[in-house]
């Protein structure tokens, strides 16, 4: 036996003997830098005989020591990759252990975790082992075991691999709830530099395909529903809130059961596909993508402009921002243009970007209201709404008892919930500052920008310098970005009622 032969044998032995726990550790560690872990965007009610459902608001099941929500089993199918993206821990030039799940092994793991209520579902991505089609086909193998063999009805988010053929992407789309292709870098120049194996067209082409398929499948579903309704034949049986048990519940001393659980009671719940003969749906929770922040010299303005484009062109449900965490030294990586290269700066930046993203999508802000080519950076000390308000002091202060809701939401510290509370409460009488406090409106920032019953808050001066100091000293007192961060993913995941 030659030496080469021996080595091969040993290698095979090592690969085979890697147990599932070791694989899980490696393939989780390889996936953990991906920011997306929400299970949101689709309602699908449970079906008799099938495991699982999906809830549009999303449900976290745990929080890791870094405070991030764990909703999905987030793993790679394989961390074996032939590409060499400088920002990625799985790049081919990096020396580290490689592992791959067997499709059934992964499917079993998902089912066992799901049955124990550890997870909402699966987030599956993969390194490019072999070629993009092969790597995607292995993901498809695992997902079709889950969906078709096991009838798994929970949430699945998959990453499409740039360069995979349209047929393969299409297969993948019908198995998952959300499908995303990572844009990775805010500009094609950065992409070219840091991910030389990927080219923009290999990213944008499948994004366009996914957008079109989602649209077509939605259209088809609508027509199908129309036909079904005209036949007036509603055979869908929902479970979990049947009335025949109410007697039992009363007997057990509990009559509160009429209260619906958080998501099973929503009227627009989608029954799962196959059982009702409903047409299969292509990525019903839509398309998302991720950008890495701070590995390239792109400014906040560049980043947000790219996001706006992505939302407009591809109907993205979400753009995720992921602060770059150094994974081995790559000379190609450039930090902040102004030379601040520490990690927590990138985390603050990530947080400010999420806040801005929020303003653009839910508060009707336009990008040029927040940033411009001349002022391309967000302020680490001020949240973007405060920044905007300070630049537009002529619009303030506004009177809380008269201002329309669109203006109220634009006040720093008052969000849609706060604005709604104010509008509700002021119907039964004008509000003063103590009434606002009773409504649990956080006044720390808002107080600078409002009047109540025509009066400005006592002891405050409506003047640029004073406001700036008031706002930033509060922020500085918080000392760290960490507290301020609670808004973003959290508020998305913890939607109450």
């Amino acid at each position: 036996m030659t030496n080469a032969c021996l080595t091969v044998n040993i290698c095979l032995y090592i690969i085979e003997s890697m147990n599932i726990e070791q694989k899980l550790e490696i393939l989780t560690g390889a996936a953990k830098y991906d920011a997306a872990c929400t299970s949101s965007g689709v309602n699908r009610s449970a079906l008799p005989g099938q495991l699982g459902n999906a809830c549009s608001a999303g449900i976290c099941h745990s929080f890791s020591a870094d405070g991030r929500c764990i909703a999905l089993l987030k793993v790679l199918m394989s961390n074996d990759c032939k590409y060499n993206c400088a920002y990625c821990t799985n790049r081919v030039s990096k020396d580290q252990s490689r592992a791959s799940f067997e499709p059934r092994e992964l499917a079993d793991l998902v089912i066992e975790f799901y049955r124990r209520n550890y997870i909402e579902g699966l987030f599956l991505s993969s390194g490019v082992s072999g070629d993009p089609d092969y790597a995607t086909a292995r993901m498809i193998a695992a997902l079709s075991i889950l969906r078709n063999d096991y009838g798994f009805n929970g949430y699945i988010h998959a990453k499409g691999i740039p360069g995979a053929s349209p047929e393969i992407i299409s297969q993948l789309g019908y198995l998952v709830d959300r499908l995303s292709i990572n844009i990775e870098m805010p500009s094609s120049a950065s992409l070219q530099k840091l991910a030389p194996d990927k080219n923009p067209s290999a990213i944008f082409a499948p994004m366009g395909q996914i957008r079109d398929s989602i649209g077509e499948s939605r259209q088809y579903l609508l027509e199908w529903k129309g036909r079904r309704e005209s036949r007036n034949n509603d055979s869908g049986r929902r479970i979990g809130k049947s009335d025949d048990l109410s007697a039992l519940r009363l007997a057990a001393g509990c009559s509160t059961c009429e209260v619906r659980g958080t998501c099973t009671g929503l009227d627009d719940c989608m029954p799962a596909q196959r059982k009702l003969g409903r047409p299969a749906r292509f990525a019903p929770a839509g398309q998302a993508t991720q950008m890495i922040i701070g590995a390239s010299p792109d400014s906040d303005y560049d980043i947000l402009r790219t996001s706006v484009n992505l939302y407009d062109k591809f109907n993205m449900k979400r753009v995720f921002y992921s602060a770059y965490v150094p994974v081995g030294d790559s000379s190609l990586i450039q930090y902040e243009p102004n030379g601040q290269s520490n990690g927590s700066v990138q985390l603050v930046r990530e947080h400010r970007l999420y806040q801005s993203d929020w303003l653009l999508r839910f508060y009707n802000f336009e990008l040029d209201e927040l940033l411009s080519p001349d002022m391309p950076h967000l302020d680490p000390l001020l949240d973007p709404k405060c920044l905007w308000a300070l630049r537009n002091l002529d619009r303030f202060p506004i009177e809380v008892n008269r201002a329309p809701i669109e203006e109220l939401v634009r006040v720093p510290g008052i969000g849609p919930t706060g604005a709604q509370k104010i509008v509700r409460a002021r119907r039964s009488g004008a509000l003063d500052f103590s009434a606002l406090a009773a409504l649990r409106i956080v006044l720390k920032r808002a107080q600078w920008f409002i009047t109540a019953k025509g009066k400005y808050r006592e002891g405050l001066k409506f003047e640029h310098q004073a406001i700036y100091q008031g706002l930033t000293s509060e922020e500085a007192r918080k000392r760290s970005f960490q507290q301020a961060r609670k808004l973003e993913e959290a508020s998305r995941q913890l939607v109450l009622f």
Partner: protein
């Protein structure tokens, strides 16, 4: 002092409202029949739970205040605060006399407490949906048929339905601040309709039992957790391995973790179990 006593059911509480209106009086307090300490100067009125009465009140709530108000009352009734009866009573008084406008006046002293309680119960409900952790229970002999757990013999054990995965039972213990088990059973029963399961609330000593999408509640004292099946440890270890691997050490943020996952709930989370930490 006028005290109404009732039978500790939501129906009973609704009958208190009914009596207050028909007798045209204002109780100073509403208390549970059991465990009431009688004091001098107290006038007791034991409220009798009558279906005709509570169903009229319920209809009235739906009509005058809407579905959301009814939902709030049900949720607040599950709160574990001692004054919830009076809070609900005062809220309903407002609602009946002034209609929906009153309920929108959320800074009003009779309305605000219910709004806040509703938030608090809702938060706890959400937390249970997140943090219930099932363990697979030994399949061959049901833990409930053993004499050692005779107290539990009142729990109807889900029979092992051959269709529903070979008669396994999943078991979870929870320790919620409010009595939210009734509020989360719909969710779990639907999601896990292919598995028989029991969720035991050790604080309020109540068990939710579900099979094939149907569920019921049962009052149980001091249930002993049944023995878990062999492969359960294995999956708890795998889950812990995943939990540790998903963390980005550069971003450690203990405060944030505890804000979302309060320490009081860690005891039933396998990923937070100290013994498992020592093992890995």
């Amino acid at each position: 002092m006028l005290i109404y006593t009732y039978d500790n059911t939501l129906e009973g509480l609704l009958c208190c409202i009914f009596d207050a209106y028909t007798r045209n009086e204002q109780p100073d307090n509403i208390a549970c029949e059991q465990g009431l300490q009688y004091q001098l100067e107290q006038v007791l009125h034991p409220v009798v739970t009558v279906e005709e009465h509570w169903s009229r009140v319920r209809k009235g709530i739906h009509k005058k205040m809407g579905r959301l108000a009814w939902q709030k009352i049900c949720a607040c009734y599950c709160a574990s605060t001692t004054d919830k009866e009076m809070l609900i009573y005062r809220y309903l008084r407002q609602g009946f006399s002034r209609g929906r406008v009153a309920l929108d006046d959320i800074s009003h002293p009779d309305i605000l407490p219910i709004e806040e309680l509703y938030r608090s119960v809702g938060m706890e409900q959400q937390r249970m949906i997140m943090f219930v952790r099932f363990a697979k229970v030994a399949t061959t002999k049901s833990p409930y048929s053993e004499p050692a757990h005779s107290k539990l013999s009142t729990i109807p054990v889900p029979s092992s339905d051959p269709k529903s995965n070979s008669g396994e039972i999943y078991y979870a213990t929870i320790n919620p601040k409010h009595n939210v088990l009734p509020l989360v059973m719909d969710h779990f029963a639907a999601r896990f309709n292919i598995q028989a399961f029991i969720i035991y609330d050790e604080v309020h000593q109540i068990a939710g039992i579900s099979e094939s999408g149907q569920w019921m509640l049962s009052q149980v004292e001091d249930a002993q957790p049944p023995e878990v099946s062999l492969d359960n440890e294995e999956y708890q270890d795998l889950w812990k391995a995943f939990y540790d691997a998903i963390c980005i050490p550069e971003r450690i943020n203990e405060k944030r973790r505890q804000q979302f996952m309060p320490k009081r709930l860690w005891k039933h989370l396998p990923e937070m179990h100290p013994s498992r930490d020592a093992k890995t």
